[in-house]
């Protein structure tokens, strides 16, 4: 049995299914096998962050105490993009102009796609560093799969766009840009958005003008890395109905993008308490408590049955995809022992012998 063998593992899926936890457990399991592993987490819950020694936001992986060669970091989207800009800027002046621009500051922090892009940019950097046998990447809770998969391409399209080129060719005077007869659409934008916004946009594009080639090249390299045979995707879901539908849509988007999905991890599956405890509960607990216990068992059974329906739906929609089930463990992942427990269920991710 092996834990995902690929060099780069990307955990994808809807928000709220335990993706970050699964990524951490997967990385820990591989580190336990003696590999040097980096895990990049996004917004880990405080307890998990503490378990991984990630109390402070760090731009680089930190070694996790008591976990062999497990190195963990949390993604800082802004910092990752800042570093990228810094490395591409022709000189300090250009760098400072770009980094201090309001458009850039907002773009790097809030605009959809920048977190996704910086996640894969970080994956690329860590891979290029050559320091790790394996890298496990958690991904942002995207609105849909395309937000994540498209991020590099979208950024390229953006910098390649006609508007971007028009803007970058301007000297920086917003009013001059807006007044140019050849740029009516900018005139419209200036009229609607106000001169202040337009000025910032023009300033941003002139600041990054010299970096466009570098950014485009980086986006292309990142895109290529996602398609590299060394990269595999693990789809994480819960058995919750909406999560299941999202997972199926996610798998379809991956297939369309021709990205290899290597396993499905279904997290927090309810297992029925099997068997009929006939009369013995009454003798042990008295009639009232025994009846409550029976209620618990019945409800758990209903839940397990509903989860079973979800699994059947997943299997029908994703035939042949190796699937691992992680039971509802009932505990928050607040230490390495609990992560190990979860990791034990992931042992077979990436193995050909996984139950179909």
């Amino acid at each position: 049995m092996t834990v995902a063998r690929e060099r780069l593992t990307v955990c994808v899926g809807a928000g709220g299914v335990g993706k970050t936890t699964v990524a951490a457990a997967l990385a820990l399991a591989r580190a336990r096998q003696g590999e040097r592993v980096a895990v990049v987490t996004i917004d880990p819950a405080p307890a998990l962050a503490r378990a991984l020694g990630l109390a402070v936001l760090g731009g680089e992986p930190q070694r996790v105490e008591g976990a062999g060669e497990l190195w963990a970091m949390r993604l800082d989207a802004k910092r990752t993009l800042d570093e990228l800009i810094s490395s591409l800027a022709a000189d300090e002046g250009a760098r400072d102009r770009a980094l201090s621009n309001r458009i850039y500051r907002e773009l790097s922090a809030a605009v959809a796609g920048s977190q996704e892009f910086s996640a894969v940019a970080k994956l690329y950097e860590l891979d290029r560093s050559g320091l790790y046998d394996a890298i496990v990447l958690d991904t942002p809770p995207s609105r849909n799969a395309l937000d994540f998969l498209d991020a590099p391409a979208r950024l390229m399209r953006f910098f390649d766009g006609r508007a971007a080129r028009v803007l970058m060719s301007q000297g920086g005077s917003a009013t001059r840009v807006a007044a140019r007869a050849g740029a009516p659409l900018l005139g419209v934008l200036g009229r609607l958005a106000g001169a202040g916004v337009l000025r910032e946009i023009v300033a941003f594009f002139s600041a990054i003008g010299g970096m466009v080639e570098g950014l485009g090249a980086r986006a292309a390299a990142v895109e290529a890395l996602l398609h590299d045979p060394a990269t595999s995707f693990v789809l994480v879901t819960s058995p919750r109905r909406e999560a299941v539908e999202e997972a199926i849509a996610f798998a379809a988007a991956l297939a369309q993008a021709r990205l290899p999905l290597s396993a499905l991890a279904v997290n927090r599956v309810h297992m029925a308490a099997n068997g009929d405890a006939d009369g013995s509960l009454e003798a042990l607990l008295g009639a009232r408590l025994a009846e409550l216990v029976r209620e618990s068992v019945r409800e758990l059974g209903d839940r397990a049955a509903a989860d079973g329906d979800s699994l059947a739906r997943l299997r029908a929609a994703l035939p042949g995809l190796p699937t691992v089930l992680i039971p509802e463990l009932g505990a928050e992942m607040s230490n390495l022992a609990e992560l190990d427990r979860l990791g034990a269920y992931l042992k077979s991710v990436g193995s050909p012998s996984v139950a179909q």
């Binding site: 809807a14 928000g15 709220g16 299914v17 819950a45 405080p46 307890a47 309001r102 458009i103 907002e106 773009l107 605009v111 959809a112 809770p141 609105r143 849909n144 399209r157 953006f158 766009g161 006609r162 508007a163 971007a164 028009v166 803007l167 009516p184 659409l185 419209v188 934008l189 200036g190 009229r191 609607l192 958005a193 106000g194 001169a195 202040g196 916004v197 910032e200 946009i201 819960s238 909406e242 999560a243 308490a273 099997n274 068997g275 405890a277 013995s280 509960l281 042990l284 607990l285 408590l289 216990v293 209620e295 618990s296 068992v297 409800e299 758990l300 209903d302 509903a306 009932g330 928050e332």
Partner: protein, 313 residues
């Protein structure tokens, strides 16, 4: 069990506002509660819109319907839904603002304009909020469209939800002059007015969801109306019961079935206690909503949640 949120007590009921935002982490059942609140609005005779900004169509699905992004759809008597598409909102806005329809279409469909619009920070959010605001205006922009008395917004994960709420003000401040700045200021004033807008958080009694709701609460500086704690599991066991279960589990002569049953009960009791301690992290401004079971959400389930929500609405 349920406590009335302080803000609702002091500044009127939630349904008396024109705009109600439900913000929370993914997977906590926000869309379900938005739909239930929509039913409650319709029960009170308000023409109600339950608005999504996700492109996912979760709300129509709850009613067995299929929505189309950007198209208003009646789900049941008095309850409508719309999945706001910023691009459609932009086109509507341009048609409304520019003198010639053809010019608006040319500009709206131009890739270059689209890229610049996409690059303008917060514009997407502003357009979305502009549409939400427009739905609740006595005079609708779209000819013949009727206004809504109540607009409930199922807002995405907390971070993006906050960006939505902040966009009009940010824009009004950044843009300085021009129609967008003016409109941003008007929308922002509506959002900031407690008599017109309520912001509710949705969480489950799980650490990550509670963390996010608490963060939302501190970011909103007292602007948060209530925290809806959704999908609470059963709490059947007293602490004496738990002790009795533990004691029984310690016996060595249990048959397998009895042991499994006791373990299931003990795990449930432990989970209930953990949830209780998570809820304890909030002060009194919470409304607890029970788990309505693993089956797909039915109309009866939505009506049941609507009953429960009437405590704050």
């Amino acid at each position: 069990m349920a406590t009335i949120p302080l803000e609702a007590k002091t500044t009127g009921r939630v349904l008396d506002r024109r705009l109600v935002f439900l913000l929370g982490k993914g997977g906590v059942g926000r869309s379900t509660l938005a739909a239930a609140l929509g039913l409650l609005g319709a029960r009170s005779g308000r023409r109600t819109a339950v608005v999504e900004v996700s492109g996912r169509g979760d709300v129509p699905r709850l009613f067995g319907a299929t929505g189309r992004v950007g198209v208003e759809l009646e789900l049941t008597d008095g309850v409508w839904t719309l999945d706001v598409d910023p691009r459609v909102a932009l086109e509507e806005y341009l048609v409304d603002q520019l003198p010639l329809r053809t010019l608006a279409e040319v500009v709206g469909s131009s890739n270059a304009f689209g890229y610049v619009a996409a690059a303008t920070p917060g514009l997407r959010e502003l357009l979305t909020m502009g549409k939400v605001w427009e739905l609740a205006q006595p005079q609708r922009r779209s000819p013949g469209a009727l206004p809504y008395d109540l607009v409930i917004v199922d807002a995405p994960a907390t971070g993006h939800g906050l960006a939505l709420l902040a966009a009009p003000r940010t824009f009004a401040d950044a843009a300085g002059k021009g129609p967008i700045a003016r409109q941003g200021a008007i929308i922002a004033a509506t959002l900031e007015d407690r008599a017109q807008t309520a912001v509710l958080a949705v969480a489950t009694a799980e650490p990550a969801a509670v963390d996010e709701a608490l963060e939302l609460r501190s970011t909103l500086h007292g602007r948060l109306g209530a925290v809806l704690i959704n999908a609470l599991g059963p709490e059947r066991y007293t602490s004496e019961d738990r002790a009795a279960l533990e004691q029984a589990l310690a016996r060595s002569d249990l048959d397998t079935a009895a042991r499994a049953a006791l373990q299931a009960a003990a795990a449930e009791a432990e989970a209930a206690q953990r949830r209780r301690s998570e809820i304890g992290r909030f002060d009194a401004q919470t409304l607890e909503l029970p788990d309505i079971g693993p089956a797909p959400v039915s109309r009866a389930g939505l009506e049941f949640l609507a009953d429960r929500l009437s405590a704050i609405a």
